[in-house]
Subunit: 416 residues, 2 copies
Amino acid sequence: MSLIVLTYLLETPGSVEALAAKIASDQSTGTFVPVPGETEELKNRVAARVLDLRPLPPVTMPSLPQQGSGPYNRGEADIGFPFEAIGTDLSALMTIAIGGAFSIRGLTGIRIVGLKLPEEFRGAYPGPQFGVAGTRRLTGVTDRPVIGTIIKPALGLRPPETAALVGELIRSGVDFIKDDEKLMSPAYSPLEQRISAIMPLVLDHEQKTGKKVMVAFGISHTDPDQMMRNHDLVVEAGGNCAVVNINSIGMGAMAFLRKRSQIALHAHRNGWDILTRHPGLGFDFSVWQQFWRLLGVDQFQINGIQSKYWEPDDSFVRSFKAVSTPLFSPEDCPMPVAGSGQWGGQAPETYARTGRTVDLLYLCGGGIVSHPGGPAAGVVAVQQAWAAAVEGIPLETYAKTHPELRQAIEKFGKDA
Amino acid sequence: MSLIVLTYLLETPGSVEALAAKIASDQSTGTFVPVPGETEELKNRVAARVLDLRPLPPVTMPSLPQQGSGPYNRGEADIGFPFEAIGTDLSALMTIAIGGAFSIRGLTGIRIVGLKLPEEFRGAYPGPQFGVAGTRRLTGVTDRPVIGTIIKPALGLRPPETAALVGELIRSGVDFIKDDEKLMSPAYSPLEQRISAIMPLVLDHEQKTGKKVMVAFGISHTDPDQMMRNHDLVVEAGGNCAVVNINSIGMGAMAFLRKRSQIALHAHRNGWDILTRHPGLGFDFSVWQQFWRLLGVDQFQINGIQSKYWEPDDSFVRSFKAVSTPLFSPEDCPMPVAGSGQWGGQAPETYARTGRTVDLLYLCGGGIVSHPGGPAAGVVAVQQAWAAAVEGIPLETYAKTHPELRQAIEKFGKDA
């Protein structure tokens, strides 16, 4: 019998074994009093079971505040859910194996730290339409990271002002430009007007130089029908990418979009921190990202080394490995997107810690736009930083013969 | 200028004022270095601002585990986002005002505890199609709570076995029957077969007695197109309600469904606990429920008094008040659904603490099904408990002349 196996990090003043057993029961066949018609045969067919339980040292501080005093016992429990009880529906998986477990009484911590899907999920979802190979093909970048930037300020520019900035960024030689995830279609910058103002610049540059800059427009909308109209506007204007706020729209809307999409879907995960920031609660990214990859994310933002956010570098590295590890085949890997506070200075460590790969989209906001020599020098500096990283030359050494990188180090490196 | 006002409970080893100001900046116009083209005029148009900051006593234990030692300063900050910066798009609101704030460095706790939408949201969303009045009309229950039950076990019954149970429940006189939220459309119980097996029993009973029991089928699916087909199956079979796992499908899919729905949408919020259980992190229900009410939830599960889950009674009472408080008009209130471990014994306290209203759907699983006299006696006992509560008669007194209630107290009351 095929199993969907979830690993739960559990914490309780009581018995971890009993808690794991309760989760398995509650989340499949259990009920609060025995009811007529409930037979052992029925239960056995769909009951979840604790497969393994690995004790961990107890802690004195509970993840969820408690009245009592510890210690709080901990353990990692593998619970197997029969495939027959869930099927391939991800919303059923989320409901049965994850959602309800967080409501159980008596636990002081619960975090989903592992998910192993059985072979039945192979081919059940479309996965990325473009992923790494498609992003490389569309951008024409083959032998280094795709280098991207973000239109700033996040909010407040009208379409002509945005287009003026984008024009300068296109001329800078950057490969990828995106709307800030917070920019969707407010009254002062309707998406349609933004596309109309920007895409001619992209196409004109392509005609002149052969290089088509990938511009990711914020198409997210609460209404999937409207989101599809937004998608269509991008396609009709010759665009090839969109920013999607996956957490805000939800799994269903992502499935809806992917089914109809003709462009690369760049996932911003804002809101994700709510689900992961406390180490004893929520999810590991390695679990959560599986849902979105099956649903079809092409490019996945995962912060970066020395980001400006709370996330430690180790966590970014784990996320990078997670999205770069095939679920069922290499084609189900999205392109990792390293961003937040990046300017090139993090290239050596990023390269060293992510398996010495250049298969990533490296996003620099101010790191490109605010380079002392202007955006074009900013792009060159980032390319130089990556060349140095790949060649194993310290940035300071490389910068001696590469003035753009030197300027970047002088401006941005002082805080590093 | 219209504002969308969010209230954040903040906790930090540093300055709460500085943290609030950083959220306002980061979540609207901020960026990590000043960039060309960013002018004060642009900023002013869309910048979020801290409107008020109410200090709270510091705490010694941080909500997010920290290396250092406290104290951790706390305060409640009202931050106003210009309506122009967001518009009425709820996914934009979630992204701009909520999602990103949880990623900020230096905080040790953040919880969204208030949301006040401006008049521009009036009429921007459909809201409940049925709500309290529609649920009463469809069930024919006018002067007491709608009494419901849940098919158990949660998983494992095949459609004929389910239909046999449902037939007995229909004959019991119950007003409402629902699939467990974990039952959607697994291979052993495809939704279509379940509907085909159950709905003739409902319609037959209606023809004989005039009473149409509302049966809520689990129509959730990752793919909104499939979810709509599931909805249509319910409609075509003469059904009038569906269970929707709102957290698993997400906001977009809920909007998609509501736009096309012809039936009452019964929201199960499983997974919600991840977002609310730690008192220093996540959301208050009073905030989160606003999104789903605007999107169109008709019946909202909010646990109950003495539930079997972690949620304290006070929290249930607050949730009840939240969903019963109009956002813009009384029609945008869904029917509150009190459930989990209910058997009638909680009726007096539920009634006393929720404003002495009977406008709720009162869900009893084992409390009805496992009544010593059978489900029909179980339904009568629950009705008796509510009659006693409304008349202000102690249950023990009322039970002296009402044997079904007495049996219920004897069986279920011993744990209470």
